[in-house]
Amino acid sequence: MSALMAAAPGAPVVELDLAELRDDPYPAYAELRRTAPLAWVPSVGRHLLTRYEDIVHAEKLPEVFSSREEGSLLLRTVGPNLLREDDPEHRRLRAAAEPPTRPRQVRDLWAGTFERTAHELLDRIAGRGEGDLIGDFAEPLAAANLAVVLGLRNASADDISDWSRAMMAANGNYADDPDIWLRAEQATRAIEDAVAEMAEAARREPDGSVISSMVHAADPVELTEIQNNIKVIIGGGVNEPRDVFGVGAQALLQRPDVLDRVVADPGLWKRVFEETARWISPIGMYPRQLTQDYEIAGVALPAGSRVALVIASGNRDESVFERADEFDIDRPHQPHLAFGGGPHFCMGAWVARHEVSALAWPLVFSRLKGLRLVEGADDRMEGWVFRGLTSLNVTWQV
């Protein structure tokens, strides 16, 4: 079924300015939930689905809401990969790649290295008394940890960050800028070389990493499949833990009473993590394409319709979360949508939970005494497909 690049008959059409969405998408989402919970948005080229219940409904029907979206820029950037596949093909790749990201492996295999890296990064800045917790800490930590879990011992944290940025730019290259394509091609070629080298090493000596797990999968995986899937994990795997870290750290620094409670009761870091991911979801939406005619949110969509599941909006749905726009770690436990749902449930969820809530936040707030936000710093929240802080400037006592 080929993709329909226009509004479904009967679907409301809502014009949204992408620059405004990047700045702050939440007012527009609130209006959509109220007045047009499924709306064709021409600037996005998809129908946005914005209410919690509808998104959960769609996630539970992957045979209707297919991940195989045609014309996706992600496919052009990295080639066929598990994010844009449905079961059983998706399942084969996921089963091969997933074991190193499961919680016991995270604890037993990766936690020690994560902790050493976090200490090293803090050692470099601790004596300065000031820094940017995104650029100096969260980004290099996320990148280095990703390299470890993937099994890319031949890549530095800077390599991973650069590759990730180049591919992310290409995934959003709707303007077709040739320089952006070129940089992404250079990045993907470098990743292919790095993966080929480490796959060969893992074939001789398994190391528990994602590459190793895919090389030794019971249901065989080709080298090109390993390469493409590592690309997609690098593309998306740096910004999410980095952004949850930054947004949550800023939220606590703005709420000293909450911070005091969490520091006194470290069991609360988990709540901070889940609430941060709900409040400002690092991934705001992802695309689906209908395999058949299907009615949702009162609109009869024909097969081929393109739909974006706007999980950032579902996570602010007032019918599910009271005072949804507020950051509140004491709100009643209610599942949020930040990790997605169904077969594509975030593979990095357990890695991110550990790296951010069990390691990065507790370590930063215990090692950097008297941590404060720099007043007047231009730390901007940005993005709607992906959202997070561009920087987080802080000072501490030396």
Partner: protein, 107 residues
């Protein structure tokens, strides 16, 4: 078709008809049983379809598989010897009358 009973934390019971050949989580989700979240849709990746199998039926249902056993260490509510992930319990006619208890928290 076996009938299974989900007992909620407040003691109320939901009797639902499960289909042999599916998994227990599916019976809960299809019938809107509160407290079975099942974020990952049945792939033992999320630990949000946790149940306590009633003592009387523990042997009948059997122990968790390896992948499930790991995930059970990371459930929101405490793990008990009777803990299972309902997405990993295959429904069969032998489970007719099964009682499982839903924990206070899944997330």
């Amino acid at each position: 078709m076996p009938i299974v009973i989900f007992e909620l934390p407040d003691g109320t019971q939901r009797k639902v008809i499960a289909s042999s050949g599916t998994v227990l989580m599916q019976a809960a989700v299809s019938n809107g049983v509160d407290g079975i979240v099942a974020e990952c849709g049945g792939n033992a990746s999320c630990a949000t379809c946790h149940v306590y199998v009633d003592q009387r039926h523990v042997e009948l249902v059997g122990p968790p598989n390896d992948v499930e056993d790991e995930m059970l260490d990371f459930t929101a509510a405490e793990r008990r010897p009777t803990s299972r992930l309902s997405c990993q319990i295959q429904v069969s006619d032998a489970l007719d009358g099964l009682v499982v208890h839903i924990p206070e928290e899944q997330v």
